[in-house]
Amino acid sequence: MSITVAVDVRSVSKIFGAGTGQEVTALDDVSVSIAQNEFFTLLGPSGCGKTTLLRLIAGFEHATHGSILLEGAEISALPPFQRPVNTVFQNYALFPHMSVSQNIGFGLEMQGRTKDEVADTVGAMLSLVKMENLKDRQIDQISGGQQQRVALARALAPRPKVLLLDEPLSALDLKLRKEMQVELKRLQHETGITFIFVTHDQEEALTMSDRVAVMNEGRILQVGAPHEIYNRPNDRFVADFIGDTNFISAEIIERDGNEIRMRLPSGIEIMIPAPPDLPQSGEITLAIRPEQARIASDGDAASIQGSLTDEIYIGTDTQYYIDIGTTSPFVVRVQNANGETQRIPTGTSVGISVDAKTIQILRD
């Protein structure tokens, strides 16, 4: 089954201050295809280029190189007001001199819809975001969460082909943010519009998205479904940025079919499944998630040996910090069964066991 592409970004670069001698590369040869009806997230730290990419799609900036296609048609030369794409801005950018319904109806009015059409759609949008009773309020008379809903309704009202969301939840408090995450997902299902969502919050990205693109320093490092990004990071930055990770260097000894034998710093050799394009020898980095490692009980074959330096209780889990002779300690996270922690005195020599299938090989 072929998936129709909504937005196709082809080798796009954006250099700010071109020709001034103070060039800043915001995007460096970025290519990505976003499918129709997809909830697609651009995830990365601030300054990674995610917002610039969004602004290029919206038409607020022009690419230095490359092209952007919307449903197969080149849109790079179109001004924002001719692109069937709408944006939910970071601080909502609601018009302070208009009421809630005037804000929602603005796009429709600009499209030249009739008064009745505008009124009908505004009504539908108000009920979609559950704001019917506040429709005549001024913008400064409603709360941040309500402003968020109005911004969403305003951007959805003209039924854009793609909705761009620029960190829309960052100004909300934690509880409201959780509610809005569910709400956004529902809106995306109900409207069937492609969502491109920008955030620096990895948890937000993983819970809401169909696919996530992790960006850093103007490049897309990895694109994939949330579980792929989390479980199979292919880059040290991705592994580090999303969740907690232990990095250990290892030396490749030999390849054996689909698996590879390598030696850990402790001297213990392990076999793990490896991609075919891995080099035959040399140093590589392994990433191991804290919750995928265990403190070895007597019967287990421990992969790594070390001594316990710290034990930290964090509610649902307990984290054990184990000195394994590398610069930073190895972290093991164990879920607290029945609210009880497994108490180990510090200084105890412990073994760490890891399921070979959960070890990720990084190319760096």
Partner: protein
């Protein structure tokens, strides 16, 4: 933080409050007799002879005062409207934009009337207009109006620019994103949000034009007295409370205008 009950206040400086209050007193004290004697029944501005509005009536019925007042207002209205329109355009062309060659020169030229002493501008205009008057024979109001318009531009420009700089460009981006063409973005979003700044600028320009003495004194042709130049002329003669009455009215106009500007410029969004 700091309360009066505490023996040591970090913000207190000995004698400062006293000097400050003396300064405020000095700012307003000289205006009191000015206003007071405008209601004098006698002919003198120092000898109180009872309460009366006769000098307001006298000023109102004085043809010279009437025509000067009308002239002042007409010139101020035209100059402030034209200056504000031009200043609004210039502010849009010099604010919230990527830097370009000539931007600082434009800024400097717009603010030039603020830097050059008024007497210098006045004399320069006298020379230029004398040349034009000689060669064209035209002695009308265009000289006065164009001179007033020019020196009003920076006064209108500054509050408009300040307002623009405080306006988030993202609102215009949002309008463009919602299918508004550049012109409709301007009329539907930029202009309504800029309006308090434009009004403040226009009123400042109006007050500045209404109060101008020096440039008007040098530029006006015969019989083109405005209220301030009429008053300047009267000061050479025996001063009657009529001048106080006119001053009090002008003072009232300024206070009202400044109060409105003050509240307009503090209004958020």
């Amino acid at each position: 933080m700091v309360t009066n009950s505490r023996p040591f206040s970090i913000k207190r400086m000995p004698g400062f409050s006293l000097l400050a209050l003396a300064c405020f007193f000095a700012l307003y004290m000289p205006l009191a007799p000015l206003v007071f004697y405008s209601f004098n029944a006698g002919n003198n501005i120092a000898l109180w002879e009872g309460l009366s509005l006769r000098w307001y009536v006298a000023a109102w019925e004085n043809d010279l005062v009437q025509s000067a007042a009308i002239r002042s207002v007409v010139v101020a209205v035209i100059a402030s409207v034209v200056a504000t329109s031009l200043a609004t355009m210039a502010a849009l062309g010099t604010t919230r934009t990527r830097p370009y060659r000539g931007q600082t020169s434009i800024y400097a030229m717009v603010n030039q009337p603020l830097m050059v002493p008024e007497i210098v501008t006045a004399v320069a205009l006298l020379i230029l207009f004398a040349l034009i008057k000689e060669s064209t024979g035209y002695h009308g109001y265009a000289y006065l109006v164009s001179a007033h318009t020019a020196f009003c531009i920076p006064f209108a420009y500054l509050p408009i620019r300040a307002r623009l700089e405080g306006m988030d460009r993202v609102l215009e981006a949002a309008a463009a994103d919602l299918y508004a063409t550049p012109w409709r973005t301007f009329t539907k979003v930029t202009l309504p949000l800029l309006l308090p700044g434009i009004l403040a600028g226009a009123m400042l320009a109006f007050v500045i034009s209404l109060d101008d003495v020096v440039i008007t004194e040098f530029v006006k042709s015969a019989g083109q007295d405005t209220l301030p130049t009429y008053m300047l002329g009267q000061l050479r003669r025996t001063i009657t409370p009529e001048i106080n009455a006119i001053s009090t009215v002008l003072l009232g106009v300024s206070v009202v205008m400044v109060a409105i500007i003050f509240f307009l410029s503090r209004k958020k969004t």
